[in-house]
Assembly symmetry: D2
Homo-oligomer: 377 residues x 4
């Protein structure tokens, strides 16, 4: 089968190859999935560029890809979960956890210390086929188009970040309008947020946000170019908009300056979901006494997706009308186009890039032919 | 001033008079409000009919009314809260609490055991003027039309019932599609509920629900005539719709059969907000072992509105686009029309009936002339 | 092996036999455990008496017992969990859940609708050996004596009931001072409850409570004979003790009158853990409007133990010094003494009765010989 | 009356005077309290040394003191709260809040942005008399000795830090064994913590911790000299003790190295209460990605005490037997001994220093003569 492989510890196309690989053989507890659509994630970009942050985790050769959807091709002998049949339309949680540690055994597998991530520690989904543990397979409703099914892993990050705090009637600031930030904005609007404040460093991103809000007829968007405007001015404006500070900050950028801006603009007693990963190791919190202690804020680190309540909530939100299809801004009908897709993603031309190994049309047909709704995540 | 008065302990018009009363004089900690719009509530109906349930609480003569909006007319000498000025557009929390008990002093004034309700224990807002404690006055944004400002107390009940549980992505069953149930449906849809299931005893109510959902283009409404269909059949249908049981039940009817139906259809580990008041004293829970214990459900009694976080959330939801104006199905431009309004409400012709002492047009003008936004509840 | 078997659908000794049975053979995912100590539970009593409530669940012949501890005897080929070795001192969660439903997959396996209970739906631990799924085995610290290890399932019920609400500094009423009520009292005292109020129908139980409190030098115990004293008098006394109502009610009796007394004495905004199972199907809530709605209470059905956070918390509480050994009031050194133990339990002579198939001395020796601490639940 | 006054913007005794001041006159909403006992707090030390951190908040001359208890001397005309009478034994919350902002009006007055602290922004309790708003007065039970009543403000900080997370069965690390850390340890042990880990920079503090644990017969204390031992070694030890990381960190030191150590040793998904104030403005979080995001931790800034649920919980914990009297390690029978007390506190000879304006004996007599229990906070 064709696969996109991190072939060597090198930056760019020199370290990435599209090559023929053997079709994986599913073990007794695994399911083999024919990939229908697969999306490029920020992590893939780090692998592609062989960023120092990622080198300890990836050992080439390694097949890329942890955001995808597809169709059940083969079911391991002990992998027969309820209802699941060959041909079914599915996605999968690509964090594979130990199941035995205290976190796993208390419903917190998303913070298992022994997590192995497919597409990073194990071969992933940028291929015609991928095998995953049966427990991690998530049946999808055919109403979800494959271009959306392709990036549920990423949407799950955004859902998880908004799952720890009820956004209805809250003012919400989103630091970083990349793919996850954009999805978080869609979720916040869908769930009744009263104000949405976007901070980003590019006009292009802010323009995308404005177009999205206009399309939704959402009147309460406020966007700030955090590079062009001084933090103090943004702070002042946000205090006016929110009558004293924003209720919830969704930190999706990882930039230390954005973390600090979030702490500055958040309300007394406010909440911060921290999801973005900084480039460096350390983050300096300015005015710790004033902004963390005296404000009595709550800060919550967000990693992965809750297994599997985040998946359940995500599918329910899509069913209730959450629209994130607009986040897909680049599609390619062949795995061979990976370099093109990565280049587009790399240049921030597209929030989300999706590749269809057999073409999008074929993926849509396979969805239509699948047995249909198996709802529980 | 003109006022609608429970004049005698009798049922119907015999016990209710529209008569001239002295304008109340605000004490040093009180504010006098010119009433712009006032709504009829189920409690008013109980007072009107001199229901046994209400007789201990009301001592005629007593001015009706605890759902209203209006304009600051006079401010007591110690009642100068931040920003509040004569002419301001306001509503008020009509539960007046002691401020000294453990509940009050821990941010739970809504369950103060010494609550006095204006329009019940004290004179209310079915009049040209009403006085209330300054602390209870809530400034309103001029974007809220007075016909909506008129029933924020009732909307607050619905908001409170949905404040204890995050509805985003949840399946929600609403037992009773009266005014509060209708508002709860609007809130659930606005906040991203995945399915909304309505149970009511009249086709008229279900038809109203259908029209509302169609208007919102909300595809996931399911309505049941709980009188016409057997509980077992409804149970089976709901299990299919929700894959095992509804996540959240909002019990707005008070009917013991509805409470039991709610417990039957709720998911294992589900949540029930209990707001409806039964006619009798006792409620028999069927299958207590199976439906309460073995299911591990949470049941939460809902009374009043949190002071004042519910008001804050309510205003934020309205600001974010929550639409409840459609609930108003009868308006009258004079207090003298109280008997007409009550008759219409009594016959379930209108979910909500609003009276404007000076006419709706004048109320709209006064809103426009008010100093504008003072946002914090 | 010897086993205590529900041999026929009859009441008492006529339907129970101590007989020779084959040693169970563990499947690939199961572990065979040599039983060190096994306790009699209220459910066993219902089975013994062939109560109508239990008849649908049990199909004779069936080995009794779901509270026990013992030693790993044989490990199925796929059942090798971390560290677990032959000879290890263990207990087990005897609710076996499907692992595939929404509850199971969101960390709420304790409310799986497809739960199978060993000792009820499957053969249990009143035998020399019992087999259980590997996932359900819980390693025990050798500091836990086998007479306590014998009833962790029951202790887990009490821990679960107190896990949903922080008891530190709270006034706590316990309805029913049977084995679970007694353990709940021990937990409440250990966790900093400010007042403990016990309601029971027998003087014997109240006397046991008094002796326990005296032994702990706990000054804030208040006990009521709920049969001898009128509810109104108890209510008045509790209001005095607690300055307005008790913070938390732990309903461990299942008696409808106790549920109603709990609702009466609970504080505005208070919390009720409902664990007791009533004899009949229906429970009538008196004064529903006043006691449920106007009080704004939260009621939470409690079933089983959270898998496995309750186990983890329970072991941590025992490690921190929680003393529940006093609850054991009858021990027998042979399975043959089951009829004696049951008779004693039946007559309320003993809160907890524990049987040791090989004698207590031998069980203690086996604990000492086990490899020792494997702490994570 | 005699009072201890920050007399000039200078370090040490040069900027502090014990002098005669007029007795404050209570306004209509205020209560005048005769001070029975008053404690020295870390903030007083900062004022005494005229630390840069405090200069913006204090304008000399200013009477010190915000931790005290005493006796009602005079009640303002509108200050007659339930039951409160001249002679009553009381303490007071010395954070005086606006009552009008969103925080105040949603039960979160402890994070009011307009808080004025008595003894800092207004005259305090290091005097024979102090006046405070009636709402802030807390009746005390005579069973609380005045040397403990003297520092309830500080105890309240510790209670608040432990109020956001249930400590029963949890492993708890306390960074900094100063007065608040010591009280936090007492609370943790009282509330059923399974392990208590203390980090401090002095052997003296660790020795005090050991003596306290020995006195309580608490076997699960682990103390670390965080200056003498490398963080990696402590981390390793804590992981062994706690099987993977501590559940809860109570950060009471403000030292950036302690904050980082706390993030290092906390469990995946653990909780950190952040109360300590760093000397500088910025705090650098090392390994932010690994320790905050990948661990999915929750960090909660702690300021003041919840009004007034923390007071209520604190009094209930004392009633249930919480012992913090041992924290008092220096007492003086005259306000004139302030310099001695401050010197002792400054040299870390005493965790808590209490002064009695009329002598301790007299204070004890006044407690005995007070009308007794008025329990609600």
């Amino acid at each position: 089968m064709q696969a996109v492989v991190k072939s060597a510890p090198l930056d760019g196309d020199a370290g990435t190859a599209i090559r023929d690989c053997p079709i994986p053989e599913p073990g007794p507890d695994e399911i083999l999935i024919r990939v229908g659509a697969v999306a490029i994630c920020g992590t893939d970009k780090h692998i592609y560029h062989w960023d120092p942050s990622i080198r300890d985790s990836v050992r080439p050769p390694r097949i890329y890809g942890h955001e995808f959807c597809g169709f059940v091709e083969q079911i391991g002998e002990r992998a027969h979960r309820q209802n699941l049949q060959v041909g079914d339309y599915v996605s999968a949680e690509m964090h594979v956890v130990c199941g035995e540690c205290q976190q796993c055994r208390s419903g917190n597998g998303h913070i298992c210390a022994r997590t192995r991530i497919y597409g990073l520690h194990e071969d992933g989904a940028f291929a015609e086929f991928v095998k995953v543990p049966a427990s991690n397979v998530i049946p999808l409703d055919p109403s979800i188009p494959p271009r959306v099914g392709a990036f549920l892993d990423a949407l799950g990050n955004a859902v998880h970040a908004t799952q720890v705090v009820d956004l209805a009637g809250k003012s919400v600031a989103i630091m970083g309008f990349g793919p996850i930030g954009a999805m978080a904005a869609a979720i916040a609007e869908h769930c009744g947020a009263s104000e949405i404040i976007i901070g980003d460093v590019t006009e292009h991103a802010l323009e995308t946000a404005r177009r999205w809000a206009a399309g939704r007829k959402f009147a309460n968007l406020h966007e700030f170019n955090v590079r062009a405007q001084p933090a103090a001015a943004i702070h002042k404006k946000v205090e006016e908009i929110t009558d004293g500070g924003v209720d919830v900050v969704l930190e999706m950028s990882g930039a230390p300056s954005a973390i600090n801006l979030g702490l500055k603009i958040v309300r007394m007693g406010g909440f911060l979901s921290l999801l973005g990963l900084p480039a460096g190791h350390a983050v300096t919190i300015d005015d710790y006494t004033r902004n963390v202690i005296f404000k009595g804020v709550t800060m919550q680190g967000i990693i992965g997706r809750r297994m599997y309540s985040t998946w359940h909530r995500m599918l329910a939100l899509l069913h209730s009308g959450l629209d994130v299809e607009w986040v897909v801004q680049g599609t390619y009908d062949s795995l061979s186009d990976f370099p093109l897709g990565m280049a587009s993603f790399d240049r921030h031309e597209a929030l989300k890039v999706v590749l269809f190994p057999e073409g999008e049309e074929k993926a849509i047909q396979r969805v239509a032919a699948s047995q249909g709704l198996a709802r529980s995540a």
